[in-house]
Symmetry: D2
Subunit: 435 residues, 4 copies
């Protein structure tokens, strides 16, 4: 670590609309994380957004009075070289690709979602090769850097990195911190008086222990389930009888599995009313960038919080703090399974509580795993591993196996149709499949 | 073993239409299996069929000239006492119950099948308590006996027995022997020149190695899939591209998962044309019993072979032979996993190659497990374990979790409806649920 | 937890000479651990010592001005009832038994040591039944209490408790905290700037990671090994070449294995010069109790620190603090293996880093295990498990297997002689063996 | 397999005095194993013995009238090219090296033995690199060949091959077949009426099940242990009380561990009377070669049976038969652990029952593993793995760790002395250590 001269942090996909959040995070945590150089890097297609959000970042830093240099660049290698932390928040194919991820499955009667189901699979196929390419740079130019990966599907991307590169990498999601924020508010307590235990995969977890000031609140929460739901997931009611015997508070993404029919109906209705979720997000983002352009704006605008990725930057900055300062606190992260879940391979990425030391996160044993959850976790992990293999090899047969193995895809026949149409639409982003 | 005075074998569900097959098997194998007393036992409701098929059995034995005593009884304990082997081939609730197992799911857009999906679950709920009751008798009256379980769903029933009783038990299916019969014919070879490796669960296996006279034939069979299909499963075409990368020849029951949509359509069409499969079978059985009544009939009638359970008795008699004579040959059986599949619990029943010694079957390590198969095996095993727990406890909440966990049930909402209707229809057979 | 009215803590073996240490610890930590009732309990044979040390404890508390009640009792059940924490620090058979534990092996050319080898085995046989008896009381009278076990051999005792009782129990040793104290002094740093990773069993561990302020110091410490040695273990030099490739800093008890010959010589020399270690300790204790009697003494006398069990009470009080306040810090404890070490059973007690939560310690995965250490750990664990079985059953054959399995016992012949003589000497304390 | 034109078999170390045995075996099994070309290959230093024994082999074949060609060669590559089976029976360093393996440990008060302890370690260091070199040739010239390894220490050599080459290899010992021969004679029965289960490593196994015609004879054999002992291991009496609770019939090599003291005394006495075992063997071999020279000799001389390696060739020929003919019988072999023993790594070589198929041996699950055996197995395996690493790297520090980890080496101090002296004596055979 470049202790004396401060830290160098590279944010890949720096032109993202989320950037003001992470910049705000760095400013707030400056005392713990002495950031000297912040490199926002993007690709040519994102240059315009990078300029807008980068200038806002500079104004925010200037207002803070802190000695942080903000660099904007399209030269990824320059940004990575010698970095202490690299974070990624990218969207290969932009919102246009997401639109098809969501739309094509719907046309075949299947859930269309950014990270779950056929849409998530396509996102993984587009993203994994790009991330591994970034890892090659990190291996060469910043071998001691920590890579904090927010790029979805974060579980598969993290697993691909840990299996196919030497980069020290951790996957992150805002769901765990979101649950904590909600619980602290609901029970009027502080984060360190909460204990929660997560079991599962990214966007496929069950919270199997919730203790507030030492008291078990899990059954209370399962019994009279007041709705906790991310802004980017539509609210459909859980069945109370089902929840009571489920053994854990389900991730809101589990609605796509447990309420497949109702969620599909809701997607159709929403599509009719507002277009795809990608199109909705596109409008929100356009509005945000309009705000960002304002040269008088020197802070993160309130509107960003409605964007859906609440607490992402807080999660990121907390993790950097713990790694840098060896805080040894417990955070819920995406890491290699090791021997935590006995029904998954040791190199499978899971989302689980970890103690974060300066040498990295150590996953904690899980104290219970509901039988109910095991089959679904294993089924989705099979799909994930096949998808990773397909992303790396470009093998269409393996991609078909992956698609057919996904629990939301009803048959091989549908899988083939989806695969054909979706690969075709993603042709520009899938060189391995179209050699 | 009662070596000097010959063996005592009890067949529970002895009034079954299959009985002539197993009697024929005993006659053919007499030299290896010196059967002295054959006890056919049934319940009061099956007395009429027991009488008919029992008399046929006596005529068959008489014709053989062998010193085998055939006993017909409704007293299960007398039949079991001191037995060397007990085999079960029963149908709790008879074909009437099966009719609803098949029909109700269809009404909700779900596969209706005897052993797979909601129908199989109901069959398990009805059957497991009865089998465990039989096990109590065996523990008391014939603690050294081997229980050969043909009663479907054979995997779940076997697992329930091995986990909740001390009886030495093995589950059997005719699919493995059926494949061998087909291969020997197709390649014009002998059974001992074949080597096949099965991986998975009962009615959910993949054949991952097929060697004929030392030559690997798996890819050839996967590539130009000439149809192998049990008589009781409708023929729908596998997708060749899918098969090629599947890594194993799928059980024909896997069609319900991989071709859910087409199989459902076929069920509807068949229902319209012939009624449920249960009703079809009922007609076949009625015809068989008409034949059996003929006092001149002294052998298994040809028509029985079309009944669907081909080779069941051969599988059973072969297994008894190997246990009794310590043959140490390889048979594909349903046994406890031990450490064979690393993603399943040690006490989970799996269907896998075993060496059969006089002390029981020893499962062989599997030389490959396709990644493609793991998730589905794990998902179905989760459903199975929840179902077993529900069968033992009569806990409706666990039953709901089991139903919702089945990969063929699309949502918790549908699961609840199925559960409500199906439990209600099965009320007479589910005392644990209706205390 | 009796939050409002303060904590109740029972110290079994309260008449120990160590008691002033733990009393001092409670006084110092009062703010974190609001102790209301401290129960010092001992057996009839220890009444005299209990009175002396108990009065000192009362004077110490009085001087502190804190509202802590000190109770002295021979009624164990009264002490345990409703306790929040129970700690044990007992010596079944007193120093007289220890004398023979050390002496008899020496007579047969074998290491004679309190916790390691045949001596440790006898101590386990005497102690385990007594501890399990205490556990019966805790299960009945204080089922939510934590049992902190300092009683040696702490690993075996802890494993026996976790396998044969329902009491929530943790085993503790002063070696890990001792290493930290030494490192903080050596490197002039603070405890929370250290990171150490322990692998192994109680009194049989290797420290495989030592980081001081983020820097790896393990090889430095292995290379030029400045002597770190507990006061109660004689100093014999490690071979530098051996240490360099050992992969971890060895526990000083490992000298008994790696330098068996030199350590044995040293024992003989020391025996000649000073008598057994038990006799030396006896003299030290007598002197301590002389000091304790002084009615003007109101604090822990300096001389206690030379007694050998330095930091024991600090370890205990830290652990209670973390459990009570859900501190989630990392401590090295004796707990069930779970899936941490893949070559030991899940219910084997190991000594390993844990995160201490209010629900108990969660063992952390080990980041490396030297191949060099595995065989010895496994061999000693086999001896331990056989010893536990012998302690519970009183089976002489199993005891012989345990003795013969210990790596320090050179043959079955010697094992038999040792067993015969040592069981005989311990007859009053081994009712299970002399029914 | 070269079915039409018959098999090619290469015997490396073909000049061994054992060769007439294996030639006799091939002649007897000709019907099952249609051997066409037998290549006996040796090194320059063994040319003279190769000529003598090779000519005898030719006379034996001539007498049999079978169409087998016997080739004698010093060109290993020519012998290996296109072979179906390669067997190895070599002694790197000849009996001279063995002499020091046995003698030097004795000088330091340690068991001196060919395969166990420091002697076995040196043999491994000399042999593993040579075997791996042979494997390079097999990989290139006969990639489908099976390598049957008799070369001691067979466990370590086999593990080295399976971990560091792609050759299909199996390790063989004559102890299992020797036990069977003894049991069939003792109980006047046939081999296929026996069932034995072996657990452990090569020269370190326990026989945990012995059934004769279906009856359990283990306890009978443990209770009144009539001596079964290989000719090359001195007979010292087992302690009956110890045996009774050991849980399995111990390998006679276990005497070196369980009766270390008595065995050492016996070695000293024997050394005084007859010189080292190597010298005794040397005399026997010289006598054998004198016999072999006799041009009238056309068969294996009786005297060879007293040589110590009884049944080796029968074991080898049986194994080839089962591999070639896919016999699927059960043999006790040295193979990779897989998931058989849960306390050893998956790639550790173990000695265990296997079903031998044409695709190789499949290890059977063990039905019991005595707790008593686990620690010793693990300790010796640790020594073995460190030895293999040392053999491959030539790393002296690892070699020291291996030596110190051996349960028969009492301390690091003794380990260092042994290592220094033994490495020096073996200098010509250890290029990796003396670069």
């Amino acid at each position: 670590m470049t202790l004396e001269k401060g830290l160098k942090i590279a944010v890949i996909g720096g032109g993202s609309s989320y950037t003001p959040e992470i910049v705000e995070g760095f400013i707030k945590k400056y005392e713990q994380l002495p950031l000297r150089e912040l490199w926002l890097v993007d690709i040519e297609a994102g240059r315009h957004k990078l300029d807008i959000v980068g200038e806002l970042a500079k104004r925010m830093v200037a207002k803070s009075g802190l000695p942080i240099e903000v660099h904007l660049t399209l030269d990824r290698r320059q940004a990575i070289e010698g970095a202490d932390f690299v974070s990624t928040q990218m969207r290969v194919g932009l919102l246009e690709a997401r639109k098809w991820d969501e739309h094509i499955p719907n046309l075949h009667g299947v859930i269309g979602q950014e990270t779950t189901g056929p849409g998530g699979m396509m996102k993984a196929l587009r993203t994994i090769p790009v991330l591994l390419d970034i890892c090659r740079d990190i291996e060469e130019l910043a071998p001691d850097a920590w890579l904090l990966n927010f790029t979805n599907p974060a579980g598969m991307v993290t697993e691909a990195i840990t299996r196919y590169s030497k980069v020290k990498s951790i996957g992150l999601c805002n769901a765990p911190i979101g649950l904590h924020k909600w619980l602290t508010k609901k029970y009027d307590t502080e984060a360190n008086r909460l204990y929660t235990e997560f079991v599962g995969l990214n966007h496929l977890h069950w919270v199997t222990r919730i203790e507030v000031e030492g008291e078990d609140k899990l059954n209370e929460l399962l019994d009279k389930r007041e709705e906790y739901s991310g802004k980017n997931v539509p609210a459909t009611e859980w069945d109370p009888e089902f929840l009571r015997t489920l053994g854990g508070l389900p991730s809101y993404y589990l609605k796509y599995f447990y309420m497949q029919d109702a969620m599909f109906e809701e997607q159709l209705a929403s599509l009719k009313a507002n277009g795809t979720r990608a199109e909705v997000v596109k409008r929100v983002e356009d509005e945000l960038f309009e705000l960002y352009k304002n040269p008088d704006l020197q802070e993160k605008p309130k509107q960003l919080e409605q964007r859906g990725g609440a607490y992402y930057s807080e999660a990121a900055v907390n993790l950097m703090d713990s790694l840098y300062n060896d805080k040894r606190d417990i955070q819920t992260l995406n890491v290699s399974n090791g021997r935590v879940l006995d029904f998954l391979p040791e190199d499978a990425a899971i989302e689980v509580n970890c103690v974060v030391t300066s040498k990295g996160p150590l996953p904690l044993p899980v104290t219970k795993v509901p039988e109910q959850a095991k089959g679904l976790i294993a089924a989705v992990k099979t799909y994930e591993r096949l998808t990773i293999e397909a992303a790396i090899t470009g093998d269409r047969g393996i991609a078909l196996q992956a698609m057919a193995a996904h629990p939301l895809v009803p048959s091989v026949g549908v899988a083939k149709k989806l695969l054909d149409e979706m690969l075709e639409k993603n042709k520009p982003y899938l060189p391995a499949f179209f050699k």
